[in-house]
Subunit: 232 residues, 2 copies
DNA sequence: TTCAAAAAGTGAACAGTGTTCACAAAAATA
DNA sequence: TATTTTTGTGAACACTGTTCACTTTTTGAA
């Protein structure tokens, strides 16, 4: 097998990886510009001067190739958020930075972000995934994103900023929904009024605005208990 | 032209509409079950015992047919929200009902809701839509949905429930983002932990939970002004 | 009622798509 | 050097949306 190249890559494998990367690079370019419908195996093969069937020596299907594009994007997204999260010291700043970075990275590659959440599971798939352990979930990149949020909520609660009556899991889910929705709304409905338009980066300031509102929703409530049936 | 049938439909038109409705009904069924990729003109034609080319006597393209499915769904969605909005008297109840109805209706037809927000506009389209008047926008069904939210925010502010320092447009956008995100998260990521699982309708109670958090984010802030740089 | 015009419906074809598979060329291994 | 494995290809299959010349049916008026 790996006779002479004990741990390194044999020239054959390096060459193979080169072709694989070329495929991915071309696919990335086409997908970023025109989305899934614009990424065709045949056009892709044309672009890199190979036959369409050659692609299948590197990827089992178009689906598999797309999966790799989406996964690497989401990991990049996660990296960005992790980075800014480590940068800020103040809790409010860090939380805000996480949200704005998440949304900015998402909207910077609209097709990638939208595609990362595009599959609608069938009832059968749903039944299978129902029996999924928490460990298996946070092993996925989506699960890691969720865990970041849970940690953030717990930290906010420890600091007395967030309401300790809230379940961290629920709160995290709520935050994610709010961020996810804003990102997709900006991607799919850029018509929505941009109250303080900034020509170079429209909606940029609104993201921080939204982030503040979301955080206010988790803050310790005012003195009036009212009839807020929170968390039974 | 309409010689004998002054305002009513001529038998020919009624028959034509019948076929048109049959096409739409079959398309609706297929799309609801399998989504856009599962809806093929040829299978559709097969289903209603017509030739594929016959479809094009009723719809200019598959895109046009899909557009009609999506539009009628979103109008139904809007109707549902309008109905429950008129039903509740108490402001909190009404706001909560709007959110839960919106999300429930969306998740009840996942493919429809997701498809209603699926198009990613190209830079050219984006430039065109930038010059869109507010009147033209609220004439669309999406615009009406947005207007409902703006009105709701203003009412909440008038009642002293919501912070009057908030721009109603921004607040409405923030609410919509949070609802939109929750609906899509439930559609595309049903794996997310369902803390209090309800076997018959999972996630049902979480929607109300999320709605309360969202409303808390718009509530009048606590006495501590802190350094919240809200609305400049 | 007859007749031209309009509408409805069809089969065949075009240009695409993802994917498979037998086969040829090249490279790596023995 | 001979053999096996890898890499790449062209042709074909089974689809897709769409068009168009064509026939059949229906309609409205002379």
């Amino acid at each position: 097998m790996d006779s002479d190249y004990p741990l390194e890559q044999t020239p054959a494998r390096r060459r193979r990886n080169k072709v694989r990367e070329a495929i991915l690079a071309a696919a990335e370019r086409m997908f970023a510009k025109e989305g899934e419908s614009g990424l065709s195996i045949r056009r892709l093969a044309e672009e890199i001067d190979y036959s369409p069937s050659a692609i299948y020596k590197y990827f089992g299907s178009k689906e598999e190739l797309l999966e790799e594009l989406k996964d690497s994007f989401f990991e990049r997204l996660l990296d960005q958020v992790d980075r800014v999260s480590a940068a800020s010291r103040d809790f409010h700043d860090r939380a805000r930075a996480c949200v704005t970075t998440y949304v900015s990275t998402a909207t910077a590659r609209p097709h990638h972000y939208a595609a990362a959440f595009s599959s609608v599971p069938t009832p059968e798939e749903l039944a299978v995934r129902q029996h999924l352990s928490w460990e298996d979930f946070i092993a996925t990149s989506k699960g890691q994103a969720f865990k970041i949020l849970v940690d953030l909520v717990e930290e906010g609660q420890a600091l007395g900023v967030f309401d300790t009556a809230l379940d961290p899991l629920k709160a995290a889910k709520s935050i994610w929904a709010s961020c996810h929705g804003l990102a997709l709304l900006m991607i799919h409905m850029p018509i929505l009024p941009d109250v303080q338009p900034c020509p170079t980066q429209p909606d940029r300031d609104f993201v921080a605005y939204h982030a503040d509102i979301v955080m206010r929703g988790l803050a310790v409530p005012a003195e009036t208990p009212h009839k807020n049936g929170q968390d039974s």
